[in-house]
Symmetry: D2
Subunit: 157 residues, 4 copies
């Protein structure tokens, strides 16, 4: 859980930050009247898709090419609840990239008051269709990140 | 929607009825405090899996063998809401079997008072991995149904 | 199911059409590699929210005011599958409005080739917190629809 | 994430272990052909419900009485993927109980080969309808746990 709060990566990687916004769907709420806690994980997944697109990668094409990034760890800290029809923003950054591993971290907040809802982190491993570890796709992401580092956002560490 | 209420199949097929019971999960509720209407479709899917198992088929093995049964139609009629931790039963029957098509119908009710919650129907087509229509898997289901017809339940038509 | 295809409403109501677009989330796919059939219902719900917003209503405020619109019927016809990261558009229109009932219909298609994915229909009833039928909120929607009728879209009937 | 692996609770609490088994639903899989990582959280929720029932509590009745247990933290470690129709068991134990906080930990494995799929932990806070912290419901759970401690299972710490 610490990872979402303090970034102790020894890597010199500086990641761009993707921001994607959308409205909470009714189907994402539960009987407590708030967004169900499991529903933030698909939002983080959406953030990863958009972050990769931002630096020139398509996760869809990676899968078509036979590479997958299953999760090996996930953690969420719930700060405040979201409600139906809230406009929310998911901020996604790459926290660490040590092929074949890649770690993302997230901050999810409500618009327009910027209320922090959830912070989280996920750790993934790159494999091929046979389940074998693969480093090459992540090295390509690394190169793309270095190329985009001048545009680096200010995701608070 | 008519199909769930009146069975006008010209086929002489009589289908066994599968009954499977489970408790409503919190994650299946929404902010109205009731089970979200979309959640009954996965319950019907669970009913299909169990009905096929009951007559000696494994949907999992069919998929492993390269056959799929995507939906082409679905309908639900919502009679009463279900709530968290309710014990519910899904009754599933085959309504019509005209290879490559197979239709199921469902009655979902609450235990122990047998309150009717939802009735529904789904229509599927059997295809292989290339998307081509396939009749053989359904003919096997037909034979299995005929073999099991003596054990036929009393799903109201 | 007919309702989604042919609009035989005797009402003279002409409804605006809302269009809302978004990308398919990975969490919405299933092991067939396509969007799970149950996932279109939350998309239709999203379409309803946006259609009501378009004509000046907030479903969120209606619920805060003690009015709810639970489903009493839903139907989907699946024409073609959607895949992860597809850009999809949900078109939503009000099909019929006979307080306390309101019917919506939907066409969901893929961008940019306009491939039709799913057509559907839902029927709702307006109730208050005690479950009593309520006509007033729907009469307000009716007035708003009449006011917006000059901007009416061309949802094919 | 450490918490799921090593139990460093200073409390002398020894918790019973609940085991609940069910089959993976098709709707819980994703395009990778495995259970979507977000789907384990509802399974853990199901485990909590059953553990509380086992020691004589009904989470449903607690909510009816105006007490809620929203999550403040959740973490999952994914060891091996689950597939459609797998029979899985969720083991749930109370890790720590410091009113108004309660922590659960989980081990999810596949039957019958006992393959470990996921370990996890969740931290909750007890609040009333106004969002105020509440200790009493957790003290009652504490008493019930002490009463049931002779039946304590062997959840590995």
């Amino acid at each position: 859980m610490k990872k979402a709060e303090t970034n102790q990566s020894t890597s010199t990687l500086s990641s761009p930050v993707n921001q994607v916004s959308f409205r909470v769907r009714y189907a994402e709420t539960d009987a407590m009247g708030i967004v169900h806690h499991s529903r933030y994980l698909p939002w983080m997944e959406l953030g990863r898709t958009e972050l990769l697109r931002q630096i020139g990668f398509s996760y869809r094409q990676m899968e078509a090419g036979g590479f997958f990034f299953p999760l090996i760890e996930a953690s969420c800290r719930y700060h405040a609840p979201a409600h139906y029809d809230d406009l929310v923003t998911v901020e996604t950054a790459i926290d660490q990239l040590r092929p074949p591993y890649i770690d993302f971290r997230y901050r999810i907040y409500r618009e327009p008051d910027h209320l922090l809802l959830v912070t989280g982190a996920t750790k993934h491993v790159c494999i091929n269709q046979d389940g074998a570890l693969r480093r090459e796709p992540l090295r390509k992401i690394q190169l793309a990140l270095e190329a985009s580092s001048k545009d680096n956002g200010d995701f608070p560490s």
